[in-house]
Every structure is written in C-alpha cells, then in structure tokens.
Amino acid sequence: MAIDDKSSLESAKRKTSFGNSTFMRVARYTAVRLLTLFITVVIGVYLTIMIANMGGYVDQIMKNEIRDRFQTTIAISPGFQKLDPNVRKKLMEETIAQEEKRMGLDIPIAVRDARYLSNALTLNLGRAINMTSDSGSKEVRLILLGRLPATLLLAGTSELFLFVISVLLALSLSRRYGSFWDKIVITLSPTSAAPPWFYGIFLILIFGALLKVLPFGGLTDSPPPENPIDYGLSVLKHLILPSSAIIVSQIFLSIYNWRTFFLIYSSEDYVEMAKAKGLPAGDIERRYILRPTLPTIITQFALLVITLWQGFIITETVFLWPGLGRTLYQAIGLYDIPVIVGSTIIYAYLLAITVFLLDFVYALVDPRVKVGGGGRS
C-alpha cells in the first residue's frame, strides 16, 4: 500500500515536471517562430511597399496629381490672373514644392520607404483619397479595420466547415475506398480547379435569381433589422451563399487529398498490427491514423487557408459582402492608392497571423516539438 502510494506520488511528480518542460518547449518553439515570422513579415511588408512604389512610379503619379490640382486652382482663381505670368509661375512652383514637401515627396526614396515601413508595421496607413469608413473617417486603418469583421466572419465560418466536413468525410471514405461515394468524390475532385467566385455566380443564379429563396448579396437585409436577434438571423441568411460557394469550390479536392493521405497511412505496418490485434475501427482511426497525421493535416490546411484568403477578394465582390476584399475592389475603382497599399499590408498581416496560429497548433500536436528538438519537418 505504502509502496503503491509512493510510486503514484512519484509518477504524479514526473507528470508535472514533464508538463512544465512541455510547456517550456512549446513556449520556446512559439517564441522562436514568432521572431522568425516577425522578421518575415517585416521583409514581406517592405517588399510590398517597394512593389507598391514601383521604383518611384507611384510618386510620379502623386506629383502629377498635385501639379494638376494647383494648376487648375490657380488658373480659375481671379486673384492670380492679374499677376504677371512670370511671378505667377514662380508662385505656383513654390506652392507645388511646398505641397510636395508636405507630402514628403522630396525625401530620397530609400528613406521614405523605411518610413513607410515603420508606419505600415504600426498600421499607420495614412489617409484615403476618396473613400471613407462607415463612421465617416478617412483614416485607411479605420476603413480597413471596420471591414475586417465581415471578412473574418465569412472566412472563419467557411474554413471551419470546410475543414471539419472534409476531414470527417475523408476518414469515412478511406475506410471503404472503391465504393460508390468514393468514386463520386474522385470524379468530382477536378471541379476544385474553379475559384469560389465562379461557383458564387452559379449559386446566385440558382438560389437568388431563379428560386428567389436566398438574397443576391450584402451583409444584412436593407434596412438592417433593429433587433439583435433578427440582425443575427439576417446575417446568417446572407452568409449561406458566399460560404457555400467557398466550401463547394474546395470540398471535393480536400476530401480527395485527405482520403488519399489517410489511405497511405492506413497501410502502415502499425495500423495493420492494430487491426490484427482486433482494435475497434474508431480507435484505429483516432489513435493510429489521425494522431500521427495531424501535423501534416494542419500544414495542408494552412496552405489551403492561405490560398483562400486571396480568393476572398472576388468572392466578396460578387456577393457584395462588405469585407476587406470588396473594399479593395472599390479602391481599385476609385484609384485610391493608400487604401490599395494598406489593404495589401493588412492581407500580409492576415497571412502571417494564419501561419503563426497554425504553427502554434502544430506545436501543440507535433510530438517532436513536445519531446524536444523543436525541429520542423
């Protein structure tokens, strides 16, 4: 009895110390990843700014715009017309130079890029030319952050459903491959070649235009319902079509990929061994197939999410979903340079956050990180 107690105490002790060190390892791994990812984001944002500036091309556009604006103001104001042409010209050049200085266009491009970089990293994205946020502000940051929840709602819902549905279906298909449903999925998997907006058009046509059961687009009914419950229901109703467009466009390929992947893993020797021991199918799936493949599943999912982020721009446009993507689309139409550059930077951040979150989950499920080494396959 006493010996038993002692041993259980010891094992408990061992457990806590093991837990602590696991925590430390995951924390260290996370910190290292966070640091590398931060450096990656800095370089990525810097590249984005360089591309946005296109070697001074955008500056030229802005300079021309300033010149154009002052020339017209001076040309139409009667006060200036009485002046001697030379004096007027000198005055105009001075005003233009002043304005360029105010906009910071006289500083060398490398310095300015560095300044842009620090501004961009702190999300100090400047002021929009034409667009305003819902609250009426011209701050690019407010415009973009105001639209972010809609995008996150759409992305979160569709990606979560996509992930859960495809992994579960893939598992059940891998158990009976060669069956009718398995063949259907294989046959349909090439349909994922088309992006979500493409299926969106079809869905709008069928459910919006022909059957008239679901709305064409938008976030809520107009005017938006006052009651929070009605508001939520209205949003849900509008969410159905865009999220199903995203799910439909990816589902067959992801089921196919994961089914193939599970099949490869379920022919491993230790799975055969487990089967021979007579373990129940559910146990085999959970402990012998799903568990070792989890890190790979997560990596695959991360790549899928990253591809999907890009696809949202047009999906939102097609469904008039007031998210980041649609803002970018509107900014293109209005030629609003700060908003375009700003949303590209926000997208870079979103991608980095996605990579980081999935890395973190990866660290939690990958035994190699827990046990030590911290290596990444």
């Binding site: 990525g44 070649a193 907006w197 193939t260 980095a352």
Partner: protein, 445 residues
C-alpha cells in the same frame, strides 16, 4: 521513348484522362480556328468597335438557340442588302434621265414576339437632285401599309420606331407591334412579309442602295452585349488567350521552381537556407493583392501580369516538395559516379538531377493550368483585364457591371463561365490521371 509510349498507353486506361485530352484538343482546335478566322488585329478592331461596326446587332440579345427551349419563339435578328443581292433590285429608266428603282424584300416571320427595332440604311448616288423614296409594307393577310415617303440624302437612315407619322397612321405607340400584329387576335401575325421600296431618281447616274436591318430579340450563336458586340468574337478569342496564359504561366512556374529547388538542394548550405527563407517570405506576400496593385498602378497588359504571376509563384509550397525529393536523388549512386569522374555542378543539376524529376513535373504542370486560367479571369472580373484583348473574364466583368444576373441576361455570364469550366475541368481531369500514373504511391489507390 519506350517509357513515353508506355505511359501513353497507361493514360488510355483512364476514361477521365481521355475525356480531358479530348477537351484540350477541342480547345486547341477552337483556338486555331479563332486565330485563323479572325486575325489578331481584326479581333481587336472588332472588339473595340462602336456603333459603326455593330449597328446591325440588337443590344442585350440572347443567342438564337434560346428559341429551341422556348415555347413562345422570339424573333431572330437578320440583315438584308442590295449589294449582295438579298434585296432584289430592278431599275427602269424613264424620260429625261429620270428612272425608277424598285427594291423588294420578302421574309418569313414565324415568331411569337415582336422585334426590338427595324432600320433602313440608304446609300444613294446623285449629283444635285435627291432621289425620292416611298416605302410600303405588305402583311401576310394582304394589308398594305404605307410606311413613309421622303427625299433621301447620300447617307440616309430610316428608323421605323422613330417615325411619329407612322405611329399615328398605325394607331399604335409601338410601331413594331403595329406592323406585325394581327388586328383580330392581337397576337403577332405569322407568315411572309414584304417590304417594297420605290425610288425615283432624277439624274442620269443616280442610284439607290438599301440595307434592311432587323433587330430581333435574339442574335447569332452567342448573343450580344451592351455595346451590340457579337459575343462570339470574345468567346472565340478568349480561347487562345486563356490557353496561352495558362500554359506559359504553368510551364514557367514549374520549370523555374524545379531548377531553383535543384540548385538549392545540390549546393546546400547558405544557398539552400536563403531559398528556404525566400519561400517563407513569399508565403506571407499577398499574391493576389500585389497583382491587383501592379494591375492598377502600372500596367493592365496581360504579358506584364503573366510575368509577375510567374515571378511570385516560383517560390511556392511545391519548392519544398521538390527539394525533399532532390535531397534523396542527390545521394544516389549515379550522382556519386558523376561526381567521381568530375562532372561540373551545372552538368549534374541540368543533365542528371532535373531529368529524373520530369515525370513528377508533368502532372503538377497540367493540374496547375486551370488555376492560372482562372487567375486571368479573376483579374478581368475585377476590371484589370488586358485593355485590348477580348477574354472570357472580360465578358463576365461586362456582364456583372451591367447587372446581367439581376436583369436576367443569364447567357451573358453562362457562356464564358461554361467555357472556363470546360477548360478547367479538361486540364484538371488529365492532370489527375497523370498524377496517378506518375506517382507510384497513388497507383493502387
């Protein structure tokens, strides 16, 4: 050569691969036909042409094959001309240099709807004195309706619907309805209609030529858009553009990715490390937004976009997959042997390492074509399509901008969408089969 033959025989075992190849072959044939039938410059002038090029077509007209599915048949557009003899012309000389020109055109009208509009375009020759024309309309039930009489200029356009006197004479606001209605049943009257134009000329060499343009509700094989353009031009020309964009982008991306992966894994050390880091940075670069930025600020040209696409897609996730395999191949005996007899680095990379990977390259290359085809379409849908070339994506963009889905012009979106889908499916099906053939791990599954 033998292995190629074998793998080809292998391909034939997959029905999806055969279907994919048939689709691709068909697309290539369409592309070739488009480029021969409508040469590049011709296509661009047609697509950018305004009313002067497309005056013969109605606006927003669905394709003529709509009638096949409709119980109430809608009128299909057509034109007739004295120049090609479809309108018969008879000249009777009179006294003192005068003359009479009789134009007659008979057509069948077996539809349950009214046309949008009808026009007569006169092209007259005279020195000083205008010829005088009078137009008569004969209905199948024998009624004779006077349309109008007027002196015609060198270029004279007569619009049936705009003639207020005719409206009064027909006692109907809508001239088209007035001309085609059966007075008893109030439904369109079917049968042979005849248009008679009698012109009197007052000079010796004076002559009258006329073109009759009938804007029905339907038009041609593919229908028309808001600028009266025949969509066939863009649908046909979209094929070579889509194929070229998809093929070049996918070929460029996969070959360059492979070369870079080979170089990285061969040299190892800091080169490999650098390439890995670049791949990670590329992962957080928002590819599509950058394409949009370049499209908006710099150039809409499809070739610039193509270049940037390739550049940004090189360091994608597949570089890691290739690298893993190259690292294995690097250790094989024949590489060891090559190193032993002093083969140069570039020789080993390009002649020994990369050729080994070509079987793995092909399925990936074919499967990634649809993604690039759709990428081009996506950019066009955002309004960043090539400024001159007609493409499928640009049709969808036009349709979306004109609210095609809301107003019910479904053909406008469905035609390019169907072509995109067929192209995507064709390549994806072939790519899938190739993947199963060249990837031994998948063969039994």
């Amino acid at each position: 050569m033998n292995t190629l033959k074998n793998s080809f025989r292998e391909i034939l075992r997959y029905p999806s691969a055969i279907m994919g190849m048939v689709v691709i072959l068909l697309l290539v044939v369409i592309a070739a036909y488009a480029m021969i039938k409508i040469p590049y410059n011709n296509a661009i002038t047609l697509w950018r042409g305004g009313e002067d090029v497309w005056y013969q077509n109605p606006k927003f007209a669905p394709p003529a094959w709509y009638n096949f599915f409709l119980s109430k048949k809608l009128p299909v557009s057509f034109t007739a001309n004295t120049m090609d003899g479809s309108i018969s012309k008879k000249i009777t000389p009179g006294a003192q240099g005068t003359g009479t020109v009789d134009l007659s055109y008979t057509f069948d009208f077996n539809y349950d709807g009214y046309p949008q509009e009808m026009f007569l375009y006169f092209n007259n020759k005279f020195q000083h004195k205008q010829p005088f024309v009078s137009i008569m309309w004969l209905t199948p039930d024998g009624r004779k309706i006077r349309i109008g009489n007027f002196g015609a200029n060198q270029k004279e356009t007569y619009r049936f619907s705009q003639d207020e006197k005719l409206q009064i004479r027909l006692k109907n606001e809508n001239v088209m309805e007035g001309l085609f209605v059966n007075p008893e049943t109030k439904a369109p009257l079917k049968g042979k209609y005849q248009l008679l134009i009698t012109g009197t000329t007052f000079e010796k060499d004076s002559d009258i030529d006329a073109e009759f343009v009938f804007h029905g509700q339907l038009y041609g094989m593919a229908g028309t858009d808001q600028l009266r353009r025949d969509l066939t031009v863009a649908l046909l020309w979209g094929t070579p553009v889509a194929l070229a964009f998809g093929l070049i982008a996918s070929l460029g991306t996969s070959v360059l990715t492979m070369i870079i992966a080979a170089i990285g894994s061969w040299y190892g050390g800091w080169v490999d490390e650098l390439l890995q880091r670049i791949t990670e940075i590329n992962l957080v670069l928002p590819f599509f937004s950058i394409l949009i930025m370049i499209g908006t600020f710099y150039s809409h040209s499809i070739w610039v976009i193509l270049g940037v696409t390739i550049l940004l897609s090189i360091f994608s996730g597949s570089i890691k997959a290739y690298r893993a395999i190259f690292l294995q191949v690097k250790e094989s005996m024949y590489i060891e042997a090559a190193r032993a007899y002093g083969a140069s680095d570039s020789r080993i990379i390009f002649l020994y390492l990369i050729p080994r990977m070509i079987p793995l390259l092909i399925p990936g290359l074919v499967s990634s074509i649809p993604a690039f085809v759709f990428l081009e379409a996506s950019l066009a849908v955002l309004g960043l399509g090539d400024p001159v070339l007609p493409t499928w994506g640009k049709i969808i963009n036009d349709a979306n901008a004109n609210g095609a889905l809301y107003k019910g012009y479904y053909y406008w979106i469905m035609e390019p969408a169907a072509l995109l889908m067929i192209t995507g499916l064709g390549f994806a099906m072939l790519g899938f089969a190739l993947d199963r053939i060249f990837n031994p791990r998948l063969r039994d599954i």
